[in-house]
Amino acid sequence: MRDTQRLMGFVSRGFRGKRRDTASSSRVPPGQYVVTDFPVLSAGPTPRVEVDQWTFSIEGEIDEPRRWTWKEFQALPTETVTKDIHCVTKWSKLDTSWKGVSVDTLMEGVETAAEFTTIYSDGGYTTNVPLDDITGNKAWVVYEFDGQPLQPEHGGPVRFLVPHLYFWKSAKWVRGIRLEKDEHPGFWESNGYNMYGDPWREQRYWGD
């Protein structure tokens, strides 16, 4: 009986492991589990921004700051990307589909001495990301999720998307990018969370 239980345990463990392998393990960073819903995380009240009041800016270490109105932003060339996202609270969601503007498009022709950026949002949220991590086809400013306008609880009208880093770096309700010579820790980075946040190296907290 005991042997049977042990065998069953072994079999079911092995089976589960195998299923996870084929489905996702090479795509799921250490310490994460896959969800099929889309959890809503928020550090404050959801800002309600009318699109005719909305703008997107690139400022800081740039000779001529750039700014787009909603209408101008909508006229920029778009990309639709499918990415896996990894939240530091340990859920990962695979194959999420987003439409928006590549940061490369927004940064085209910009000369800057900056090596770092602060992504800032309505409601006061900020997060710091190295400039090299938002350029080179790695980050987007998105306004559609799964073919639908981005809902306010998920950061609509517009959020940042930098999927190779933990999802707190993909700031909701984004309003701009500040180019900086020095690294300034953002909302979570100044209070225990990792400055870089690579999910594959489990860089969750200070000292990771």
Binding site: P39, L41, W188, G192, Y193, R204
Partner: protein
């Protein structure tokens, strides 16, 4: 000059004081918001827990009062948004 130096102690001198302060029941404590100056009891503040950490906001101006992150067996507590915390001794 020497007198001032003699009066200065190291952090071990407040170990007992801090232990007493941080072990007190806090729900009736009152915090002064560093942004707008409103004074609110802990029981009245706005709390967001579905986030990478716990965020406490002022019910009057919505600015952040406290941020608490817990992980790897450690806590990180930011209280720059609370100008003064008032509470009864235990």
């Amino acid at each position: 000059m020497t007198q001032v130096q003699d009066m200065k102690l190291d952090g071990n001198a407040i170990a007992g004081l801090l232990r007493e302060i941080f072990a007190v029941e806090m729900t009736t404590a009152r915090g002064t918001c560093a942004s707008c100056g409103a004074v609110n009891e802990v029981g009245r503040v706005e709390v967001y827990i579905h986030a990478p950490g716990t965020v406490v906001r002022c019910p009057d101006c919505e600015q952040v009062l406290m941020r608490v992150v817990h992980g790897r067996g450690r806590y990180w507590v930011d209280m720059t948004g609370v100008r003064c915390l008032e509470f009864a001794e235990s």
